[in-house]
Amino acid sequence: MPSNKTVSDAPITQFINCQILKDHKLHREDLWVRDGRILDPEKLFFDEQGYADRRVDCGGDILAPGFIDVQINGGYGVDFSQPSGDTGAGVAFVARKVLEHGVTSFCPTLVTSPPHVYHQVLPEVKVQNGGVHGAGVLGVHLEGPFISLEKKGAHPERFIRTFGGPGGPGGPGGVDHLLEVYGCLDNVAMVTLAPELAGSQSVVEELCHRGIRVSLGHSVANLSQAEEAVQQGASFITHLFNAMLPFHHRDPGIVGLLTSDQIPADRLVYYGMIADGIHTNPAALRIAHRAHPTGLVLVTDAITAMGLPPGRHTLGQQVIEIQGLHAYVAGTTTLSGSIATMDMCVRHFKHASGCSVPEALEAASLHPAQLLGISSRKGSLQYGSDADLVLLDDQLNVKATFISGEEVWRK
């Protein structure tokens, strides 16, 4: 039964028999989509005297906003930081595969790299909408190279830099140097940096001015340095607990931002958590969640080996061994990165923290959308939002993924 077409000719889809995530709760309600956006059915009924052209029966399953992964380094053998000649194709390949995990938008992440890699790769990774071809690219997450040598983690030491440029640290050279290193910032959504590096202040301000999120990570900053950076505009913490000073009761360091009273009143500090059960002890995950539940953002920080079957794989210069959810440098017990998928992280987070289903789902959708400042069109099922959806069973296993209301993957 179609609408009377007074507002639009586009067909209307009604998702029935579903539990939708709305106002932080699951409701047994139908979800209506038109033109790739979520439609207000009451307005449709009274204003247009319209109704659905087709119905999709969700069989009682949960219909939630599609997951948003703001930190993913590659997967299925693709490494975004390796200039391969066609990074665009690599990103597109991963974009299609992550649909299986319920991810509808993501930020391809580049680890610390030399300038020529940025200059080659960045122009090839464009912000674009998702669809049947794959999850949408929200922009690149540049993790490094302006990080602390001490907290490099798995980043290559020789490419780590400070902000010192021709103008010296702190001067306008800081930002110019940044631009020299990265090249073009057009498709960049977020930059992770260490705020204790001299000259970071002007950089943080400039990046925020350009609408790029600034994240603190791979850093030995103390709490005051971190708070200053937040006051200048930083709004995210890259994989909390990992690659930063541990919480100390007289100087909580970056971790202290979760309960800091120096955060400007109108803002929240968000923090990424790799909830794969390996990178963070569940007790630490619970402490963070309980201290600051509304800021928790689930990230996969997945590496090239994510999605590959168990066993040995040669990836670039490394040989990795995959055993279950662990990825080791072959022949050692050194973790070489995370290979959990986003839906695994959501399930693990719910299980480890004891949180509710809505909370677990929002940590992977609403919170990253809020972090990136796109929550008016992504990350929730409010009227007018993009209809990027994930259909999940009670155990939060992904059964189908939709982008702009169209089914793009089904189990």
């Binding site: 009451e42 009274f46 247009e48 319209g50």
Partner: protein, 275 residues
Amino acid sequence: MRLVILEDYELASEWAAKYIRNRIIQFKPTAEKYFTLGLPTGSTPYNCYEKLIDYHKSGDLSFKYVKTFNMDEYVGLPRAHPESYHSYMWNNFFKHVDIDPANAHILDGNAQDLEAECAIFEKKIADAGGIDLFVGGIGPDGHIAFNEPGSSLVSRTRVKTLAKDTIVANARFFGNDLSKVPTMALTVGVGTVMDAREVMILITGAHKAFALYKAIEDGVNHMWTVSAFQQHPRTIFVCDEDATLELRVKTVKYFKGIMHVHNRLVDPVLTMKND
């Protein structure tokens, strides 16, 4: 009149819902011949709507060939406001059933010309061939729809300023803040409802008992506008025990005594399955 007395709110709602179901199905509505239903809002019919939705979900009742006309709507309240009668009808009924939106008529309290809106509504009812069954409730002050005490018993659809009693009764829907309750409403007239071929009034709860007494045991009086239905050829009052508390024992005994006659109207309950 028929006075149908059930033990409690749940049973009264169920009886009423079954009656509506049977009337629609007996009528055998088609695209050429719609069943026209007048509908109320408020807490009294809530459970009745739930049951009608259940009948629809089970496949026993379809509203595809039913046209509905609501009794009233607040003036000046945005249509999307959660307490507007549009919102009530959408959330508690329309969104769960298969009625064609073009056949669901509710007065527009935000119309530019309220009087014209009322006249158009009357015309829509006439064009639809009149109302087959008008379902309504009763206010504690004995009003039907928003026909407050003193309303003409032959009144038509018009703008009414609400009585203090009504505003107080509705305050619970506006956070108990009297200043937030709309003061005017568009309402069908007493005469409009009297024109219906059949009328069913739902009355439940002890707080409605005095109004019921005034409506059926006292005279026809414009101060208790529901009393007008004493002069309607086919009216059913469906109530629970609590609503009968102010009636004479004799009245209650008489109508309870003929309950087996009333029950033939809802038993057997008909179905549209296999149609």
